[in-house]
């Protein structure tokens, strides 16, 4: 049985909405299975507002979209308050468009009166600052998008 034959069988499965095909002939055996396409039950309990991807300023072209997939996310390793600068009177660690080095401090997240410096884990350019100065951040929340150099 060659690939084309298999492809035909798969097409048949799709068309006929089959979950399994098994064939045995002349000592050959083929078995195709597909897990239940969509378990109804995985739907959330209550209709939550659909999580729309965060709107960007302008509609994104497919090309840009593709690029954004390659952007590196810097996420918060702790829960706390996000600050762009070491203190209210100093200038921010970085600005949009800045080139940063791996290990460079990007911001601080204050937790329990402790200032935790968050460093970049890649070299690249800051293409987005995702959180406003002084805002609360969760564990795993994206702080910056960096386009790796």
């Amino acid at each position: 049985m060659d690939l084309n034959e298999l492809k035909e069988l798969i097409a048949l499965m799709d068309d006929a909405a089959l979950s399994e095909i098994e064939l045995e002939e002349d000592g050959r055996r083929v078995c195709l299975k597909r897990a239940s396409a969509a378990p109804v039950v995985s739907a959330p309990l209550v209709a939550r507002p659909t999580e729309v991807p965060e709107p960007t300023a302008a509609p994104v072209s497919p090309r840009e979209e593709a690029k954004s997939a390659h952007r590196h996310k810097v996420t918060s390793p702790i829960v706390g308050t996000f600050y762009t600068a070491p203190s209210p009177n100093t200038s921010p660690y970085i600005s949009l468009g800045d080139l940063v080095k791996k290990g460079q401090v990007l911001c601080i997240v204050e937790a329990m009166k402790l200032m935790n410096e968050i460093e970049s884990d890649v070299d690249g350019r800051i293409v987005k600052i995702c959180v406003e100065d002084g805002a609360a951040v969760e564990y795993g929340e994206t702080l910056f998008l960096i386009e790796p150099a």
Partner: protein
């Protein structure tokens, strides 16, 4: 009253606390791991904060992140639920240092009760009966025989470094003492490199009886009718009931008095539980004190009409207990079944997605659960799917009600202990109220075959 409370827990107990807060007009902050983003406690809280990855050590036990979450959301108090940080004195301590009220007893009290030997000594000093035994290690055979005579046979010889039954011997007659003593010593020495052994009275078929208490910070306290939690497997309770089928009013008052003495001795504040072992002659002995709300608290709520979680919150907010002991009245009988996502035969956890979920209803039925159709029992946390609680006028009616409710309960997609619970509620010995903490071992042998 607090304006906002952070709930440092997950699952059904987090949801339970949210419900209590909602009724008290208190706002809630849920915390959750990345694995629990779709949980009901997250959905029904007013706010939620992700505090770490699935691993509980990095999320639900992550004190800095939990305190930060309280800080950034402006929560004034933390309810720890049960498990995780509920009996962590350090957590209670740092909460208080951060100006956040820990809904539970003071850190010192958690520490004191957490050290089982110290707790036992404190109780003994304050007139709470403890399990009779030797004071510390026994090195001489004759010393052991003397202690055994004083406390009466049977006795159990235990290794101080012990565990898993090694270095352990039950002695029924003095004639057997010497050989058992030396065997235990050498076994302990071989197993743990420490041949120290001590003596305790051994109880045949004891019951696990516990007394729920509430105490405010003004020194006022009340105790609840006892819970009988003898149906357990390796100290995991499976079925609880209140009242116990063997406790009468007189014994109930004595248990209550002992529980009150324990509260006074430990300067306990908030909800707690004093656990006792009850022997066949209805003598009881202090085992330990749990310094938190317990899984089985709903049966006490059912038979008294008092909402323990609301009372916890009110006490923590500094309100005096509004309920007098004379108002704590026993109404009817209540059972709880803990329905776990486990094989009913091997007790192996069975995580997975719930493909069908239908809870029983009607009069006298309560279900505490954070599960729903499509929800997933993850392998990271406990396997509790739902607590099924019934309440009726008599024990017999409550058993009939539980039987019906178990037959109505539908959980598909995962294995659960439902079939085991059904069998327990059909067991003639259980129905007659004749069981001890050894019940489930015998029962399981039959159940599997």
């Amino acid at each position: 009253m607090f304006r906002k409370i952070l709930i440092a827990n997950r699952g059904e107990i987090a949801f339970r606390i949210i419900r209590a807060c909602r009724e008290l007009g208190v706002q809630t902050v849920a915390i959750h791991s990345e694995a629990d983003a779709d949980s009901l406690h997250v959905r029904f809280a007013d706010e939620s904060v992700c505090i770490g990855p699935a691993d509980p050590a990095q999320s639900y036990r992550n004190i800095p992140n939990i305190l930060s979450a309280a800080e950034i959301t402006g929560a004034e108090a933390v309810h720890p639920g049960y498990g995780f940080l509920a009996e962590n004195a350090h957590f209670a301590d740092v909460c208080e240092s951060a100006g956040i009220k820990f809904i539970g007893p003071l850190p010192e009290c958690i520490s004191a009760m957490g050290d089982k030997a110290k707790a036992r000594d404190l109780m003994a000093k304050n007139g709470v009966p403890i399990i009779p035994g030797s004071e510390g290690i026994i090195t001489e055979e004759n010393e052991g025989i003397e202690v055994a005579r004083k406390i009466g046979y049977p006795v159990i010889i235990k290794a101080v470094a012990g565990g898993g039954g090694r270095g352990m011997r039950v002695v029924h007659h003095e004639t057997d003492f010497a050989s058992a003593f030396h065997a235990a010593q050498s076994e302990a020495g071989a197993a743990f490199g420490n041949d120290g052994v001590y003596l305790e009275k051994f109880f045949i078929e004891p019951r696990h009886i516990e007394i729920q208490i509430l105490a405010d910070d003004k020194g006022k306290m009340i105790y609840f009718p006892e819970r009988d939690c003898s149906i357990q497997r390796r100290h995991q309770k499976l079925v609880e009931e209140s009242p116990s089928p063997v406790v009468d009013d007189r014994l109930r008052r004595e248990l209550g008095k002992a529980a009150n003495a324990a509260v006074t001795a430990s300067r306990y504040v908030n909800a707690g539980t004093v656990e006792f072992l009850l022997d066949r002659d209805h003598n009881f002995y202090f085992i330990e004190m749990n310094t938190r709300i317990q899984v089985e608290h709903p049966i006490s709520e059912c038979v008294t009409g008092i909402d323990l979680v609301k009372e916890q919150i009110k006490i923590a907010a500094g309100k005096p207990l509004s309920i007098k002991q004379s108002q704590v009245k026993l109404h009817g009988h209540s059972f709880e079944c803990r329905i776990n996502a486990e094989s009913p035969e091997t007790f192996r956890p069975c995580p997975g997605a719930i493909t069908a979920f239908h809870v029983p209803g009607g009069p006298g039925i309560r279900v505490d659960s954070a599960s729903y159709m499509g929800s997933v029992i993850t392998p990271y946390y406990d396997s509790l799917v739902a607590k099924l609680i019934v309440h009726d006028q008599t024990r017999a009616e409550a058993i009939a009600k539980m039987n019906g409710a178990l037959s109505e309960f539908v959980i598909e997609g995962i294995e659960t202990t439902l079939p085991l619970h059904k069998k327990i509620f059909e067991d003639p010995g259980f129905i007659k109220g004749r069981f001890s903490t050894t019940f489930l071992d015998h029962f399981l042998a039959d159940f599997k075959s």
